[in-house]
Symmetry: D3
Subunit: 136 residues, 6 copies
């Protein structure tokens, strides 16, 4: 069993704002992250899969194909977008890094071939803050 | 003469959109960066000053004071903001990294003491794109 | 269950020196790290907590609060200090990165709220050497 | 139980080419990585061991000795070499990062003292692609 | 006048070997870099251009177009190639980082529009060694 | 003319403390950096030389020889040392990064061969603070 990780990135706008709360409560809980006019990040995404390498290729999975799957189901949906307004799979969810990492897991896991398993989604919001999700 | 650099960062939303142009022309020129609903970045800012170190301290300038000047006149104006909507010193300007670097220069240069000179503003928009401005 | 990590850093002096040994044995075992006059490091600290995100905020835990807990109980005790001389919670312990990571665990773990669990302390001594401790 | 990691690196040439296949099939499967005239990488290697620190030193294991073991059994065999032609322990294997990480595990694991256990080999092929192997 | 930098990368094999010298002299001068069977690197390339930003776009130059120029005239010629064997513009030259940086300058400089000037080619061979060339 | 840079590093203890001043004044000016019991850093050092590459080797200068010169005259003097107590060439000087960078320049410049010129000493004290000195 080996683990293979591919790093990708996307740039997006968001705000942390619970629509069921008053503006004052949002600002009290989320501080500057609740700015109505949005802010944004360069997100760094690490996708880790696991399984047994193929004897003929030495590959667990062709990393170029993994990159295409991530691009189609995640990057193209998130890059240069507003996470609160433009992303169907984030609709109705708070745009925290925690929720975003879990949503990315579900975007990828069903598109992998049967011999590989998604192991981890690691998502950096800033250089000093990241979230990991292992699907459970 | 020595050069002293302090790195800071801020997270902001923006879009590249010329209000004098049609939506179509904006999309043709700026591509996904023209997304009406904004996108954003983790900007990394490097401020370099130059001068002669003081004999008693060995310092060109107290880097904690430099950091406070940058915070007051730049970071507090830009961090968790929308560069197109929330920033007086960017009003009426296209929010390109080039224009932002030049505007940051003017925010800082008048607040330095007479014995130090601002040398360079270096601004990363993404990990692979940066702009430098030397004031001329 | 998601995992949230916050990176912090501190700068400190230390030496590796067992007071029960002769100077010669200390130098034989620890080499240049036993220099009586100290040396020092920029330590990078990664604190990982785990738990279930809150439905209303999307947060496992407010990362600004996590940062304050780390600052109060770890960074303020270690930053710009001598690890062998100035730190009550390292008293009587060898100042190895291993022991320091374990001590940092105990400084933080009792100050977290009941819905989050400390998962890992990862501590870089240099860019190429780090220690991880998972509390067991 | 603590985990200690040491990072090393080596620069090597390789190609991905299955000698049992035609040139056309190799190019179809491996693309530019099948270039007959080779290409190469700066590999970054992270070796993680685990165990209980010694009470007298505070060390799990002297990281300088760990570095020497890695140098003797891995770096000296791989650095400035052609992975397909010059490395006895890769003979007959496809030179994928997956196979290389597993081979490095076997080069190191038998040379560690009884009180430490090899935990992980993490190998970066490029800045955005890495493989991890935990020995099972 | 602003300076805009775009980072790209390529992976290639090479050796340092002067064909006018004996094998012994090559090994004496170039050491392990003279290995007949090649070695390789992940090269990081920084291309810096300078000029006056356009008033309507705020851009010195569209960084996506700059990236395409670099890709067409440099990356496509060097990536997953053998620098000594596969690259017409390196023919007859020693494959040092110095010579490669100067050759990359000449590949790019003639393909830039008249309002921008190539300022610097910065090329990392390893994480700790880089060369800069300013065209003079 | 090309510029060649080699990165090295060292770990050292220091304090910022002017012996002609009272303890109170030192603390007022230098804050936590004046801690009598020292603190320390992982310093990153970039040495840049310039000149014309040799036609037979393609080298400006053998980077392994440059590394040895830096090691002998700088790293061996500073690594795992107390900058205030253990370093003859810092005697009588304030141990600021500014003064240290200038002193490193003088340690290296006289040991280079006539065909290369020292261009820049760049010294990181922390990941976010660095000094550059160009010899004038």
């Amino acid at each position: 069993m080996v683990y293979l990780t591919r790093q990708e990135h996307f740039n997006a706008a968001h705000k942390l704002y619970n629509p069921n709360w008053t503006k004052e409560r949002n600002e009290a809980v989320f501080g500057v992250c609740a700015n109505e006019n949005w802010h944004g990040h360069n997100y760094d995404l690490f996708v880790t899969i696991k399984g047994i390498p193929d004897a003929d290729t030495g590959f667990l999975f062709d990393v170029k194909v993994l990159s295409k799957i991530i691009k189609l189901h995640v990057i193209d949906q998130l890059d240069h977008k507003n996470l609160n307004m433009d992303v169907p799979f984030m609709e109705g969810k708070m745009c925290s890094t925690e929720n975003l990492a879990m949503a990315i897991w579900h975007q990828i896991t069903t598109h992998l071939p049967p011999n590989v398993t998604l192991h981890c989604i690691k998502l950096y919001e800033t250089a000093r803050i990241y979230v990991e999700y292992f699907g459970e």
